[in-house]
Symmetry: C2
Amino acid sequence: MRVRDFSRPTTLNPDRLFGQVAQKLAVAIITGRVRAGEVLPNEDDLRSEISVSRTAYREAVKILTAKGLVEARPKSGTRAAPRERWNLLDPDVLSWHFEADPNEKFIRDLFELRRFVEPSAARLAAQRRTSADIARIEAAYRGMADGAPYAESTVRADLAFHEAIFAACQNAALQCLASAVIATLQWSLLLKTGDEDAYIESLPDHEHVLLAIIDRDGDLASARMAGLVIDSLNTTLASLGTHVATETGKIAKIKHTK
Amino acid sequence: MRVRDFSRPTTLNPDRLFGQVAQKLAVAIITGRVRAGEVLPNEDDLRSEISVSRTAYREAVKILTAKGLVEARPKSGTRAAPRERWNLLDPDVLSWHFEADPNEKFIRDLFELRRFVEPSAARLAAQRRTSADIARIEAAYRGMADGAPYAESTVRADLAFHEAIFAACQNAALQCLASAVIATLQWSLLLKTGDEDAYIESLPDHEHVLLAIIDRDGDLASARMAGLVIDSLNTTLASLGTHVATETGKIAKIKHTK
DNA sequence: TCTGCGATAAAGTCATACGATAGAAGCGGC
DNA sequence: GCCGCTTCTATCGTATGACTTTATCGCAGA
């Protein structure tokens, strides 16, 4: 599953060696290929796979440590951490998740988070928005309305729409959740690609949210955003169903050719 | 400001060298001693302060990179990142914040997040809780009720109470926010230490939340949790006022002796 | 059986070296 | 004198080898 990163909010340089190693290890952990056991085999493994120095390997491990994916203790080895320890909302961890595994439960969890957070954010945005915020949200909406359904620029505009609402909240802590929401959204848009009806139907919902924010009507903005998120979840789950079916088909095919 | 870490949810080993360096750099960035300029001075700075090898320094930088505090671009230097880029909800970043600076705005932001997230979590917990969850929440409540107001075990129980509610949600993404909430709470409890009335008054509120969750009454649990958070914010801000006053006094004193 | 000490393995730390390149400084041409 | 090109340097990335620290495990002795 390849998610090409337009508007990537993370800074982990992917064309540096340690970044690649980190990603490789992370995906291995997230998919469950490495459980709570030692990551040790990888030291030799990566030696053989890509000839990578201890330096690069260690820096990759440090990154994963910082994100809670592994725990390195002096004598006992470097182990994959249990999932509760992971910083699931970290942009990189999220992007690795999406690189590894659809995992319906996790998608649901993320949407549930959106369901709680985004309406509140919309309310706050309605209360605090400046005219500059409005301009930004409106510009994003225009981008959505004018573009072709799942074109790159349109998707970008969709993400920008939601991000601009978070930005209007003037709350740094809340803002951090924006990246998680964006990642979820990006993922779901990717899944839905092709379902033009769903996209076109969501447009008026976006506009209604915008209008409520312009009107400084917090309750309305909140309610409309809640509706938008729920609709998004439903269409995403529908697409996920077909998508998973396709994937299973592919896997079956691969297994067959093997 | 020293916050002794009981129940630290983070894994960044503080007695390893790179951990100390990372913390030192992080605090420097968070307090604003290093703005968006290069972190370069520190390379020499740390050379003179603690003689630290490049390895340890680089690994510290990798950690900060992973948390969004700095951006290391191939040849142009390692710069402190703008605040929007920071993973403010990362447990370590939070703990560094609390180590560095009370910053009322940030406290408000975090409480606002709690205000949005915890009621939703309480609702979900009420809907999904198992008897084991109840046992855990109830045990935490007992610990709060039985202990002395700001004793370590009591604080631990308070944190456990809120964490148990998140755990009952069965939502991994939401669970990640628990650490941020816990950190906020721990900080506010530390500030409030001494204000026994506030603590004793909050006890029935906690019990009411517990009862609502036992009754599987999501709406009630949510409403009561919202009340609890708002009360907590108010008492915290009150304590923050006196605390800041004291700090200012200290600063004035220091300036005077200078 | 319990205690403690030492062997041992793995992470951590240090020093050094080389390559690549972005950005600055210097040089030359127009 | 201004602009563009070349060179030079600073800094990050990567590699390597040696040494240190720490914690686990097993063996030996009480």
